[in-house]
């Protein structure tokens, strides 16, 4: 790979060898369509005919979907890349070096990382568009964008589901993790290239499934799929379960790959003490994924069976509370899956931008690990309105003390900045904003952790504001920081500082203006999941919507800026423009055909800026 820039222009492309073949993505779609038709028809017309024999039944669409997803994966290249070799057959599969390699199954961790970044950004735009529709609806107290509340609620569900499972869980892990982790630990590949090649293609399939759910009918449960409401809804909920299944499976595979990569692929000298902070973040997140994603898959499987067999697991057999418990058992760790990579990014970017040694590094790592452990013990704080008073106390206790390890992320950040010569670049600014936003999210979290306060604020817009502060405020802002910070790495080009900073300030103001008022709306009695609300809430909702739309525009402008600079930004004259000591910057920017011509030998910490010496013995691969 010479450079992505020239790739996108199509220079140096090689024709796929052998006989002419359809573009893999097109082939995947075609195979998926055929598989769906065959299996759907088999079920609905032959094996499981229903009264009035509809062509698409819940059971048939489920089986058809499974077949379609398998066919899609095979079609994009898993057939030649994995299945045939697994059965010892020969394959002719050559990867082009131009842009087309991004549109097919690949085993190159950098291509996969880019694919994940595209996929999750696509999910962000789609779900963001849904958010814009929702805010437009809420601009007015009556139904005017949507014709009925069910349509609004389905949109809320799609927004939440796609955002959580394809952006929050994926953007920094599948995307930046896959691209950067091998580079950061001095390896030329990840531990299981084929596994992660497959996993990426589940993401577009999952997003498409959730987005297409209204084809089967509205579903009104939101992203949590609460029973027994979920069992009551029309069939749209089936695609929610299936889409989430594809997305969580993808994240599970990423987790296995990243964990094994970090543990087994480290360059010589990269001891446990020297593991980069971002890698620590990926390790903790992967463990969380490995524990909790199978749990929620099982839960959703039971929900799905309830919808198609029917198997009324959470209603007749058990209690609706069973569902709530098992959902939040996963649900709370999920929010840390989203935010832990952001903590790690702060600690990655600040020492570089300040050219100052990372402060109290061990406490940063301890913080990540304890957050991971404690996050499994707090789930019922989502259920204070459901439980007896005696049960509240332990959950309230753990929820409050999780703020201690979370605070360590601040301890490290602040100590690192203190008396540093902090370059106020766009990534720095976004990290500072992220620190500020997460602070508000965390402070309001302490309020929500108090049961008697929670009884008033639960399920109101106060909660909406709180979790968007943690997710957009911390994770999305850090995500953009990561884009700017590593743009030179990905493209070999620099963005425009002035534009980057202006846009950062733009989204900061729009975000805070929109979401801070949501706290007030919640305190003032605005509940969730309502496209229609009492008139006294109208003026503030109007303002919130205006700022939310400005926020949406701000995100799109960032995207345009990043995409433009990717091709047209000024070329770097140094592969390491930030003067970072971490390994990924010791490779060429953008990296050459292999990350490191010669595997580097790590001799000291990556975060020690007390002298000019680099962390590796000799930088490998000149630009």
């Amino acid at each position: 790979m010479s450079s992505i820039v020239s790739d996108l222009k199509g220079d140096g492309s090689t024709v796929m060898s052998g006989r002419k073949m359809m573009p893999p993505v097109v082939r995947g779609l075609l195979w998926a369509l055929i598989a769906f038709l065959i299996f759907n028809t088999l079920i609905s017309e032959v094996f499981d005919r229903m009264p009035y024999h509809p062509f698409v039944t819940r059971a048939s669409v489920t089986v058809g979907w499974l077949a379609a997803v398998c066919a899609w994966l095979l079609g994009v290249g898993v057939w030649e890349g994995v299945v045939k070799p697994a059965f010892g057959r020969e394959t002719h599969w050559e990867t082009p070096t131009d842009w087309r390699k991004y549109f097919m199954y690949s085993t190159d961790h950098r291509v996969i990382g880019m694919q994940y970044i595209f996929s999750s950004f696509g999910g962000f735009l789609i779900a963001g568009f849904a958010a814009m529709l929702m805010r437009l609806e809420l601009l007015n107290r009556n139904l005017w964008v949507f014709s009925n509340p069910g349509a609004y609620l389905s949109t809320v569900g799609i927004h939440g589901t796609v955002m959580m499972f394809s952006v929050g869980t994926v953007g920094l892990v599948g995307g930046f993790g896959n691209y950067l982790i091998p580079l950061m630990i001095g390896s030329n590949k990840s531990a299981f290239p084929r596994l992660s090649g497959i996993s990426q293609w589940l993401v577009p399939a999952g997003i498409a499934t959730v987005v297409l759910s209204p084809l089967l009918g509205q579903w009104t449960t939101g992203w949590r799929g609460y029973q027994p409401l979920a069992g009551q809804d029309p069939a749209g909920i089936v695609f929610y379960y299936l889409g989430v299944f594809a997305l969580t499976t993808s994240s599970l595979m990423v987790a296995i790959n990243l964990t094994a990569t970090i543990l087994f692929k480290r360059a010589p000298g990269l001891t446990w003490n020297r593991i980069p902070m971002f890698a620590w973040g990926m390790l903790t997140v992967s463990l969380l994924n490995l524990i909790w994603l199978p749990e929620i898959q099982m839960t959703f499987l039971l929900g799905l069976l309830g919808a198609i067999i029917p198997l009324p697991f959470f209603t007749q057999v058990g209690s609706p509370l069973t569902y709530l418990e098992v959902f939040w058992l996963f649900g709370h760790p999920e929010v840390y899956i989203v935010v832990v990579p952001a903590f790690a990014l702060w600690q990655e970017i600040l020492p570089v931008m300040g050219q100052k040694t990372l402060f109290a590094r061990q406490w940063g790592v301890i913080g990540l690990v304890f957050v991971m452990i404690l996050s499994g013990m707090v789930w019922a704080h989502h259920m204070f309105t459901n439980m007896s008073n005696g049960q509240m106390l332990p959950f309230s206790f753990f929820t409050e003390i999780i703020s201690i390890p979370t605070g360590f992320a601040y301890l490290v950040a602040i100590g690192t900045m203190w008396r540093a010569r902090l370059r106020l670049t766009t990534p720095t600014l976004l990290v500072l904003m992220s620190l500020f936003n997460f602070l508000i999210g965390g402070v309001t979290g302490v309020m929500l952790a108090d049961p008697v306060v929670n009884l008033q604020l639960h399920d109101s817009f106060f909660v909406i504001a709180h979790f968007h502060y943690t997710i957009i405020g911390a994770m999305i802002f850090s995500w953009f920081a990561a884009f700017y910070y590593w743009l030179p790495k990905f493209s070999g080009r620099m963005y425009n500082e002035r534009v980057g900073k202006t846009l950062a300030v733009w989204i900061f103001i729009a975000f805070n203006a929109a979401f801070f008022q949501m706290f007030l709306l919640g305190l003032h009695g605005m509940n969730r999941w309502v496209p229609v609300y009492p008139g006294y809430l109208q003026p503030m909702n109007f303002e919130v919507s205006i700022f939310a739309i400005l926020l949406g525009i701000g995100f799109v402008l960032h995207l345009i800026h990043i995409a433009w600079m990717w091709h047209h930004g000024p070329l770097l004259n140094d592969r390491n423009p930030w003067r970072s000591k971490t390994l990924e910057w010791q490779a060429a920017s953008p990296p050459g055909a292999v990350n490191f011509e010669k595997i580097p030998h790590v001799v000291r910490s990556f975060y020690d800026y007390s002298d000019e010496r680099m962390a590796v013995e000799e930088p490998a691969g000149e630009r």
Binding site: A255, A260, F264, E295, T299, L305, L311, P312, F313
Partner: protein
């Protein structure tokens, strides 16, 4: 140069082993959930139509035996006795398939009736158990086919070991479900 085991370095072998165990461990979580949901739900009522010996004990024993047999193939790869590897894998496969059939048989004898929701924990457990057994069988099948292609035996060391792991851990998972369903 480090000594290779098949086409893998010892480190790569350890990495694969670690990842497989990680995967299987994480797949034990749903089984754990199934077992624990019991406390919150009715219980693990098993339909009277399921014979506790044929529908419960038999598949459990068969899967356990298949696991042990599959492990028998692993040292044989190291010593290079191809015939023994193949016969062991074949035997494990046959026992596995019979185990699989007896395991999922209750699915077909169950009355799907929304009004009398009994035995659902059992039903789902059988489905989950069957799914992983199927997965293990597919792994075994692919390794078997690859062995038949005539590449050097030692190149398949990891494939055979992975099969053994899959078989034995699947059997243990099912054993846990079996105990939860029929004994607790």
């Amino acid at each position: 140069m480090v000594e290779m085991i098949g086409n893998l370095t010892p480190r790569e072998l350890r990495q694969n082993r670690f990842a497989l165990l990680l995967f299987v461990t994480s797949q034990l979580v749903p089984i754990f959930v199934m077992i624990n949901i019991r406390f919150m739900l009715a219980d693990t009522y098993v339909s009277a139509r399921v014979d506790p010996l044929v529908g419960g004990l038999l598949p459990t024993l068969l899967l356990l035996i298949a696991g042990v047999v599959a492990w028998g193939a692993v040292p044989a790869v190291k010593t290079g006795t191809a015939a023994r590897v193949k016969s062991r894998l074949l035997l494990a496969g046959v026992i596995g398939v019979i185990g699989f059939i007896t395991q999922i048989w209750p699915l077909f004898s169950h009355a799907y009736d929304a009004l009398s929701p009994f035995g659902e924990v059992h039903l789902v457990s059988v489905g989950v158990g069957g799914f992983y057994t199927l997965l293990a069988l597919i792994v075994l099948w692919s390794v078997g086919v690859r062995l038949g292609k005539g590449s050097p035996l030692r190149a398949h060391y990891w494939g055979v070991e992975a099969t053994a792991w899959m078989f034995s851990l699947n059997a243990v998972g099912w054993l846990a479900l079996y105990i939860a369903l029929f004994w607790l």
